[in-house]
Symmetry: C2
């Protein structure tokens, strides 16, 4: 365990929030929008349903032969910072994911003859897209603006939870127009648009929906769009001719005709504009119906005051971001911190109408009775640090998210908690059943706004499912056999951790039978440890380890998004046991040192997914999640201070306040949440218990204002970039003689002081 070294205090110049400063000033929404961050720069409110953001390309998921186009991966959030054109502004985006969907309901202003196709980046005149210059583009939380050069239109975006608001400043024109493209989408392909439906209710209101398949197999987004000025003309056209026309042929449907429905619809709405005339548009979304969208619009933006919407959304951000007031060592760090906190609060997103109705997994309409329903659970990522962060600064939301997951369970034909769910769908992305971790962690940390008994039942049913990833084999053999289910070693390790979570929850609820069952399963990680190599190693049904072992390779070894070096550390619930397996504290220390310092040959890097070269430190792949807890594992080695070194080494390499500043996908806030915990000086190594393991804070000080009204302060003494070692820690003035903080100690409020030093003991 950690030894706390003693050193003298030094004063440093801290950058803090002064009275006139607000947290949003230190958020840079462009962070992560270049290369692999997969974030979007557009407007949204905390956990908002609408993410109104520019899309810069229309790369398809498949080419015309059905072959995957790898370039699409860069466009998970629809935007790449250096792209020269903007296609338009769509209303739904994932933040930081490594797969995609969404990009619904694209609007784009234009001048001249409306072109109902996006055109190409190399020839933007061929369609409705436009060139723009980076210097005209800016973004703040809940506000984005850019000057579109081709039509010479200034575009500004802001939102409420369920409504996007656009403000377009046009030149004088008799042919000003807005393009509405319902076929546009992220990860689009031929056949993705299942159906699009549009009604012109009157000369300034339209309604409709878009149903897609893809990552979400059946997904419908309903909308209502109101214009501040009546359009003088409009036209709606299917992108492709429908085989059946029927008696609709009697109408000229392409021009000023108020009803359209087709596999792929596009349209334009045109206006006369004076010089600098502003046209505003409100786009309300609903998971339920166009009626729901209209009600959401009325509930959230009953007026046309763009600045008010922007201001109110920014006030929401300041309230949420203000839950942590932080002093950092420099300006860049402050931007890093608040941008990370911003990214951490982008999801999961609210998924219900203002009246509480939402579409369930069964595609029926349900009422969220007594909770806010959320969607977009990227659980393989977010159970690690994001939900633990929520247990501290968003406990009510975390409980609501659990209620949302239980509703998913109740509606599931599989009788399972979500794995990766979005928009009333399970997409089954990645492995494990980590919803149980979120639940057990929340329960361990005193969150009670969900039915714990029901939640335990859901956890157990999920973990006993007979159809999911060879669970019956796992239960029978004690490991997932690779010949039955691929990525078996990763699955075995993650299942074992999840099982430990269930055991903790069962124990807390006095369910000894369930505790015994799952506590036994929690030890299953041992069954794939290969003493001959010292690594975790996939096995087949016959018990034999998989031949051709290569601990550097992330492919073909029974792992996913990690090689044996990284994944062998995936025993978050039993680090001491893991250290023993690997050969004791010293061997464990050497293992970790090797991981962080070895050189990964380029040939192996090329096979590593989702990360830039900077995303790898030695062979430690921070850009992927499986070993996010590894830096803190030194605490179980003979060299605990190395945690402090690594904790301070990673951020400057992986988190920079620049578009290309993220060393990997932000993964819906998990990467950001890691940064935040790390910056505060502790990390939830084992979500499901109440402990946070100490690292080395990079904050100068931080003040966490909790929902229960308590304030938890983190102070550092002698903080500096060089003073990475923690000499001692006091809690409320008393020396702490342990390497971890308890959740209840945070929840009670108080003051944690880190005494920093230049050298370790």
């Amino acid at each position: 365990m950690m030894k706390i070294p003693f050193l003298s205090l030094l004063l440093i110049t801290a950058v803090s929030l002064s009275a006139q400063n607000t947290p949003i000033q230190f958020v840079n929404p462009f962070v992560g929008t270049q290369k692999m961050g997969h974030t979007y720069p557009g407007a949204t409110v905390p956990f908002g349903s609408v993410q109104l953001s520019p899309d810069t390309d229309t790369i398809q998921l498949y080419d015309e032969n059905g072959k995957y186009i790898p370039e699409v991966y860069s466009y998970c959030a629809g935007y790449q910072y250096l792209d020269p054109t903007i296609v338009g502004f769509s209303h739904t985006h994932f933040s930081g994911t490594g797969h995609s969907d969404l990009g619904d309901i694209l609007l784009m202003p234009g001048v001249g003859i409306p072109q109902l196709n996006p055109g190409t980046a190399s020839d933007p005149e061929s369609g409705y897209r436009s060139r723009y210059r980076k210097e005209t583009e800016s973004a703040e939380p809940n506000y984005y603006r850019v000057l579109l050069d081709d039509p010479n239109v200034l575009a500004e975006l802001t939102t409420t939870t369920r409504v996007g608001m656009h403000r377009y400043t046009f030149p004088a024109s008799a042919n000003a127009h807005l393009i509405l493209d319902l076929t546009h989408g992220i990860y689009n392909y031929d056949g993705k648009n299942v159906w699009t439906f549009l009604r012109v209710e009157n000369d300034s209101l339209i309604t409709g929906y878009r149903t897609t398949t893809g990552w979400a197999r059946t997904r419908t987004v309903y909308f209502a769009i109101a214009f501040s000025k009546p359009f003088k003309d409009y036209g709606l056209q299917p992108a492709k001719k429908e085989p059946y026309q029927g008696f609709w042929r009697r109408f000229d449907q392409t021009h000023h005709f108020p009803e359209a429905a087709a596999h792929e619809l596009r349209g334009y709405f045109s206006f006369d504009t004076d010089e600098s005339e502003q046209i505003l548009v409100k786009v309300a979304l609903s998971p339920v119906s166009t009626e729901g969208a209209l009600k959401n619009m009325q509930a959230e933006i009953p007026h046309w005051d763009f600045d008010q919407v922007k201001r109110e959304g920014q006030e929401m951000w300041n309230r949420e971001l203000g839950k942590i007031k932080v002093e950092m060592m420099n300006e860049d760090e402050r931007v890093n911190f608040y941008t990370a906190l911003y990214h951490a609060f982008l999801g999961p997103t609210v998924y219900m109408d203002a009246d509480g109705q939402y579409r369930g997994l069964d595609q029926n309409i349900h009422l969220a009775d007594g909770f806010t329903n959320y969607t977009s659970f990227s659980l393989w990522d977010t159970y690690r640090a994001l939900h633990p962060l929520f247990t501290i600064v968003q406990p009510t939301r975390d409980g609501d998210m659990i209620q949302s997951m239980l509703a998913h369970y109740d509606q599931s034909a599989q009788h399972m908690l979500p794995v990766w769910s979005h928009y009333a769908n399970e997409n089954w992305c990645m492995i494990g059943y980590h919803a149980v971790s979120v639940i057990a962690d929340a329960y361990a940390k005193g969150i009670r706004n969900f039915d714990a008994e029901h939640a335990l039942e859901a956890c157990v049913a999920t973990a006993r499912n007979s159809r999911f990833d060879a669970l019956p084999d796992y239960i029978r053999l004690g490991y997932v056999p690779e010949d039955k289910s691929g990525n078996s070693a990763s699955k075995t390790l993650e299942f074992a951790y999840d099982d430990w979570c269930i055991a903790q929850m069962a124990k807390a609820l006095g369910r000894q039978d369930i505790y015994a069952e799952f506590n036994a399963r929690a030890g299953n990680f041992k069954h794939i440890f290969d003493p001959s190599t010292g690594f975790m190693h996939a096995r087949n049904s016959d018990g034999a380890f998989l031949p051709g072992f290569d601990p550097l390779d992330t492919h073909g070894q029974g792992f996913i998004e990690g090689n044996a070096w990284n994944y062998s550390l995936y025993v978050p619930h039993e680090p001491e046991e893991l250290a023993n397996l690997i050969g004791g504290k010293e061997a464990f220390g050497r293992y970790l040192d090797s991981l962080f310092t070895m050189s990964l040959p380029d040939s192996y890097f090329e096979k590593t997914e989702d990360v830039t070269r900077e995303g790898i430190i030695g062979n430690y792949v921070h850009g992927n999640e499986p070993s996010h807890q590894a830096p803190f594992f030194y605490q179980w080695s003979d060299r605990p201070w190395r945690t402090q070194e690594v904790a301070r080494m990673i951020p400057p390499r992986m988190y920079r306040p620049a578009p290309d500043g993220l060393g990997g996908n932000d993964d819906f806030g998990q990467m950001s949440a890691w940064y935040l915990f790390n910056a505060l000086g502790f990390y939830p190594v084992s979500p499901g218990n109440d402990r946070y393991v100490f690292g080395s804070p990079s904050v100068v000080s931080a003040e966490l204002t909790l929902e229960n009204g308590h304030v938890f302060r983190i102070e550092t003494r002698n903080q500096s970039p060089e003073n990475v070692y923690v000499e001692k820690i006091t809690l409320n003035g008393k020396l702490l003689d342990r390497a971890f903080l308890r959740h209840e100690e945070i929840a009670a409020g108080g003051e944690l002081v880190f005494f920093m030093a230049e050298k370790h003991e």
Copy 2:
């Protein structure tokens, strides 16, 4: 006007309902299922949402090159009597229409390895379809049975309003199964299935939906299917591979996997069966959701008693059909009468859940507050005689249907009443805006369970629509110009009649302004009468009559489903004026005589739609509707008795109690309603006023039991096949000196006596 000839009374032997007889015994659901009737033989209750019926072929609407396949027309109801195989049993069918859709949710029993494709009629072994023998097939109202030879399974079908119930008697088998085909449909084509969704809720309950495009551009049918015995195995497969598989690939989705969604799904559910073991299936439909379907099932069939469902549905039929107790001259006529009444009560169909929720034209969910919501309004047909029939024997339903049409209007992006609407869609089939006729007729006849002011507003808005079929030109010029809108002569004539209806309604409501506007428009028929030929004749915008006039041709002359000979009589609201136009009573009589007796060359018949050769009498096309009032127009000629001759001449040629007994599409009951009125001795020549013009009854007697409790009896004296002439008529014992009956005279109850004679005066 009619002169009533005097003749002595003769006694004839009447066939009446004896005490032990029930009306359903005289219904033959096979009538019209061969050739052009387009009826279906399956099970349904009066105005039921579910029409559970065998489909005998899978002809597509288009071939692979997108070319129309004319043979599909014979399958508007999914069934042709002489076909040698049955594909399966689907749950929705139109009765007698001349275009199609539906055929949702097909089930088919089988034995052996399940085949997830229908196979072909010539090689039924290649798929799940089966041969059957006509002698094993029988049908009654709400009951159908057939022995499927290939699997040797007896299939029996019955229904409630929203639930179909199947009873399958299997041989002993370890491979008994039921095929569920969500891709099957009537008027199917590649691309018609927009999306299909299926969940296996447990081992005996599945839910899902099917969304199609086509005649209804956006149509979703939700269902819940319960099996009386748990299936031992099941499999669900897309008919075509979806381009995107995503992480669902991790599962074997084809076998025992509870969730499926794809453009086109099929599946099987298998059982072990003992010899003669019966497996029952309940299939509940909903326009709202699978939750709605489940609730409908629970509300309507909470048990597994097939015979009870059959019995209760047949009791419903006996109650409805028993509203008219009739004595006929022979058994065939009795079957004709009750089969026609049966066909008249097949639609419009109930379109809402048991709790009153339904999907509106805007695709939102609405509550039918205080009325039953109906759909499938084939108004170009049914305004003529079917809705007038409803004003007598179904007045509450008729008012509810009007409320349903007003809800459609309220939800319409076009702000129009329905033209031809089904399943929350307008399909715009045929011409005119005849909903106004239904409304005005109901109002004229004292039906008050709808908001008359709102209805008049809807009528006026519809008739003033600026986008529909060149209405602005019609209003400006007084006729629809052919160069602006095809079928212009038919449109002018029908608009003029509809405008008269609006005028009548406005007058009754004291809206003199509206009356004046539409009474003027009602005279527009005069603007296309060509005195040089003596026919109605299409004109262009410049006023010139269309060149190349041919009064026999139904094509290229500005008419639709009728030639100039027939359509020139389409002035139902002003027969006297029409007679004057044509040259007075004598000329009018000659015109009518020519119509009924001339010989239509085969070359012209071939261009006449929707009718068999028997469907034409002379050049009078009874199989189409435009001149359905023509037989009664003799009353405005110099030879009124000819109405009586024609009234008795038409039925034996057009209505026979045999599968091929209908001389044209039944058109959702319009043809049957014509028969019924004609049989009772009077006809609603001008729906919108309260008059029924006398013809010649073919009943011996009839007793109409009205909703208000009154009984209206129709008696004949001296009735015989030869005594077609009406010598005199008494109402409640008093001689009637007019050629028409008033609606209020029926509504008040009483006795109408026709004194029949062999010769006219």
